[in-house]
């Protein structure tokens, strides 16, 4: 049995409390005395029915006002799984509570009243879920009994919401038509909606893949507490935030940068051969180093960013407004540092997703800021690592938690970030009547088995620049290191799948679009995908990049001058173009838009292939996208 944490957002009107009551009741998680209390209370309040909302709205003020104010946690279990529900209010004035509930959830249930369709509130819940990086979103279209179990109505709502979700970059989206009041499709299949062929809500909750948000690759161990019973033992206690570690592995300690090895990974039940994300352990080292709370233990070849200028999305949770320049305590992993907001970039209207320029944040505002910290943080982007990408701000006078923050990166790179998540990638074409179905086996599971991160290495450069030669040598090296690799080459894809395309600008764009999609499939399958394409247009490369999560797409610009390419001319293309036999020859009769800021730039003149490949491997190691020889048997 494992655990699924999910959040629900909504108000009583959506039937949220009824749905939770139904789940608890049908899984026999409500006890008779609780039901009796609710029956008594409903009766005293003169309600003619058993108000299941009274089960979840626990505070006196909530029952008096008939609303959910705070986050309440509910528990139920089936033989398959234990569930923790973070039940949150849906009104805009409780955005901070929604954010709180979403912060630990792996799935969000969004309720839509079938009569009202997609309201602003439903979109807000979707936005917050995507902002907090919840990997699965389940849209329960409720009160189907009140729209005559209409398939058309259901499909209309799905289409509208799917269109909205696409803008947010939510891809694991599931729709289920239900009636919480009558129980249709909650635990048992509905007899009234034979046209619905999907699973029930509980079945989906029982079978959805958990742990998808866990980063199993990048080892991060924030030191929480030092256990030192006597002079002979010194254990660095903490919970593995991400990745895994074994005794004997080389480690590096931040901020000192000193290296040593893991002597043992200890628990109260003895030493263990492996500690994985989520495990509370104590690490001992072969050499005595000065390590204390707030330090972070990592692998030398896979470092987090060490930054004190941070680009972040902030949700303001305090009644007192935030003004740039005010000092706060910033709590990140087990570290606490002084910090201030150095720039307020914009506020997002959570209902329209429009950006607004403001001079301060009020309660429940969400927006983008730059933060300066007194000491550096050891961080990853929130999109890659929830544990090392999140922080809170604490008011030093009231001690209140005034903001929740999600790290986008360092400010140095902020201006280069080409894609804004809230803008979404360019629209991908979709066949009619097709609904996105989530991946069956998650990428993180595949990566855990492969023991290396998946990635896309996109080689671009003029014909004859040396792309293919380097890419082939690189793939061989990676494969020999134990990585699962795939090489996509222009000449290959133009046989078969892209054999219908020529070399006009339109066909080149379509060629790269298809290659990007193919690369994305191999990526999802866990491979290190090496693509070697002239790919002359910047927009086409950016589109391919947009299909891959941040940090996993590495553009490699093989920067060989056109004169040198012409001199090498391995396929005789330049010669033929010179004789007018080829039209649209890049670098001759067709433009090449060189990358402005590629992740890796390669010079080939006067260097041999081995040397170039070594350089690329080094650059990949720095970025943490390399099979780590020391890790998990890789």
């Amino acid at each position: 049995m494992d655990i699924l944490r999910f959040s629900t957002a909504g108000s009583v009107d959506d039937g949220k409390s009824t749905l939770i009551g139904r789940l608890l009741y049908d899984t026999k998680s409500i006890f008779e005395d609780q039901l009796e209390q609710v029956e008594d209370a409903s009766h005293r309040r003169g309600e003619g029915y058993v108000n299941l909302a009274l089960l979840t709205d626990g505070l006196r003020a909530e029952r008096e006002q008939n609303i959910t104010i705070d986050v309440a946690y509910r528990y139920f279990a089936t033989p398959k799984r234990k569930f923790i529900i973070a039940d949150t209010p849906g009104h805009i004035q409780y955005t901070r509570n929604m954010v709180t509930g979403a912060s630990t959830a792996e799935l969000a249930v969004i309720l839509i009243d079938a009569r009202n369709g997609v309201l602003t509130q439903s979109k807000r819940h979707g936005f917050i879920s995507s902002l907090l990086g919840i990997p699965h979103v389940l849209v329960a279209v409720n009160k189907m009994d009140l729209v005559d179990w209409s398939r058309e109505r259901f499909e209309e709502i799905c289409a509208e919401y799917a269109g909205f979700a696409e803008k947010l970059g939510v891809d694991a989206l599931t729709f289920i038509p239900i009636s919480a009041l009558r129980g249709d499709n909650v635990v048992d299949r509905s007899a009234s909606m034979p046209w619905y062929e999907g699973t029930t809500l509980l079945h989906h909750l029982e079978h959805v893949n958990v742990g998808a948000h866990r980063n199993l690759v990048d080892f991060r161990f924030p030191v929480q507490y030092v256990i030192r019973p006597d002079q002979d033992y010194r254990g660095y206690a903490g919970r593995v935030a991400s990745g895994a570690i074994r005794p004997g592995e080389e480690i590096l300690v931040l901020p000192s940068g000193r290296r040593t090895k893991v002597r043992s990974v200890d628990t109260a039940d003895g030493s263990v051969p492996l500690a994985e994300a989520g495990d509370s352990v104590a690490i001992t080292t072969t050499e005595e180093l000065d390590i204390s709370r707030g330090d972070m233990i990592v692998r030398p070849m896979n470092l987090p960013e060490v930054e004190s200028e941070i680009d972040a999305t902030l949700c303001w949770t305090s009644d007192a407004p935030m003004r740039p320049g005010t000092q706060y305590w910033l709590r990140h992993t087990t570290r606490e540092v002084k910090a201030f907001v150095s720039r307020l970039v914009y506020r997002i209207d959570v209902d329209t997703l429009h950006r607004e320029t403001v001079d301060r944040f009020e309660l429940n505002d969400i927006g983008r800021v730059h933060i300066t910290t007194a000491q550096p943080l050891f961080l990853d982007r929130y999109a890659l690592n929830r544990e090392t990408g999140s922080f809170i701000l604490v008011d030093p006078h009231t001690n209140h938690t005034v903001a929740a923050g999600m790290i986008r990166g360092s400010v140095r790179h902020a201006e280069d970030l080409p894609r804004e998540r809230e803008e979404g990638p360019e629209r991908r074409p979709v066949s009619p009547d097709v609904v996105w179905e989530e991946w069956n086996v998650s990428l993180s599971e595949r990566e855990a088995r492969n023991a290396h991160p998946a990635g896309v290495l996109w080689f671009t450069g003029l014909p004859g620049s040396g792309k293919s030669t380097i890419a082939r040598a690189l793939e061989r090296r990676l494969f020999d290191m134990g990585a699962q690799t795939m090489l996509l080459d222009g000449d290959q894809v133009r046989h078969g799948i892209n054999g219908d395309l020529g070399f006009s600008p339109q066909d080149r764009t379509e060629n790269i679009r298809r290659v990007g999609e193919i690369a994305s499939l191999f990526f999802r399958q866990g491979s290190m995908v090496i693509c070697t394409f002239v790919s002359p247009f910047r927009a086409d490369r950016e589109r391919a990049r947009s299909l891959i999560p941040d940090g996993r797409f590495v553009e490699v610009f093989v920067d060989t001058p056109v004169e040198e390419c012409r001199r090498r001319d391995p396929k005789g293309l330049y010669a033929r173009a010179g004789r007018g036999e080829i039209s649209h020859m890049t670098g001759v009769s067709s433009p090449y838009e060189a990358p402005e800021d590629p992740e890796i730039r390669v010079q080939t003149v006067g260097r041999d292939v081995d040397e170039v490949v070594r350089g690329i491997l080094g650059a990949l190691a720095e970025r943490g996208v390399l099979p780590n020889g020391g890790s998990r048997g890789g």
């Binding site: 505070l59 509910r74 206690a237 039940d269 709370r293 938690t401």
Partner: protein, 301 residues
């Protein structure tokens, strides 16, 4: 615990250990509230695991209503000796004698409400800045809103409508002088999780939890055990039955349930089939709809 055994219990254990270590790191003078019940025994077990091979860095505090089952005190003293912890006992009787509180009138005086004053006095005396408790969110609807780190003002009060948001695993224990915290490391455990874990780990439990013969009287649907603190009303009489306790607290308000479950396996089977919450046997919760919220606001456990 074996690695593949009950992943959800491993997860809960790891989470509780994380919270306990966070308490030890963020506070100066932590204490662990020990009632003698299964949840506080579980807490001591988890604390030992969190800091092994070092000693538990928390003193134990027992708020003694004076209405104890003798088995509870014996078990408490054995465990304290085994752990090597310091035990502080806050006595409700002493609070009564000092005129800090007044005993309830009537045939069934409960000292449950009085405990709050003794608890706050004891914490103040020890200068404790955090008290770890074995409260679980599944116990009661007001507890469902509790944080892992729950702030108490200078008067020991809880303000449920103005709680600090608790995001991710980032716990904010910052406080002003005179304020304190309650920390609830086993918030996410259910009664079933507790029993399954106790069975998996072989944690010793007081005999009161296992079925035995005992004289009881049924009053308002609750079975009260015979003791010097419970007196019969007109028309009532003691009746020997086979019972066990699902929770252990003040002997005047902790009800027994009729049960033949005499092993952990049988208790787990009984909990799985039970249709009444464990607090269903607590007459103190039956007083009003918001009884627990009201008690918690003024500083109850």
């Amino acid at each position: 615990m074996p690695k593949d055994f009950h992943p959800h219990l491993r997860h809960l254990e790891s989470e509780s250990i994380f919270v306990m270590r966070e308490v030890a790191a963020q506070f100066e003078r932590p204490v662990l509230l020990f009632s003698g019940g299964k949840d506080s025994i579980l807490m001591v077990h988890l604390a030992r695991k969190a800091f092994a091979p070092a000693r538990v860095p928390f003193a134990l505090v027992h708020i003694d209503t004076g209405h104890n089952f003798p088995e509870t005190l014996e078990f408490r003293d054995r465990l304290v000796a085994e752990v090597g912890a310091t035990l502080h006992v806050g006595s409700v009787q002493a609070s009564i004698d000092a005129g800090r509180v007044h005993e309830e009138a009537g045939p069934n005086p409960s000292r449950n409400g009085l405990q709050t004053v003794t608890l706050l006095d004891t914490l103040a005396e020890l200068k404790a800045d955090v008290a770890l408790g074995g409260g679980r969110r599944d116990e009661e609807k007001a507890r469902a809103k509790e944080r892992f780190f729950s702030h108490r003002d200078r008067f020991g009060q809880w303000d449920p409508k103005n709680q600090r948001p608790e995001l991710w695993n980032l716990f904010n224990g910052r406080r002003n002088p005179g304020e304190h915290f309650r920390a609830f490391p086993i918030s996410n455990w259910t009664e079933m999780d507790v029993w399954q874990y106790i069975a998996a780990e072989g944690v010793a439990m007081p005999s009161l939890y296992f079925a035995h013969r005992r004289e009881v009287v049924e009053r308002d649907g609750v079975l009260l055990a015979r003791s010097e603190f419970n007196t019969l009303l007109d028309g009532e009489q003691w009746d020997e039955r086979t019972i066990r306790f699902r929770t252990i607290g003040d002997a005047t308000c902790t009800g027994a349930t009729e049960s033949t479950a005499s092993s952990l396996e049988e208790i787990i089977a009984e909990v799985a089939a039970s249709r009444v919450t464990e607090r269903g046997g607590r007459s103190d919760d039956k007083r009003t709809e918001a009884a627990m919220e009201d008690r918690k606001k003024v500083g109850y456990f």
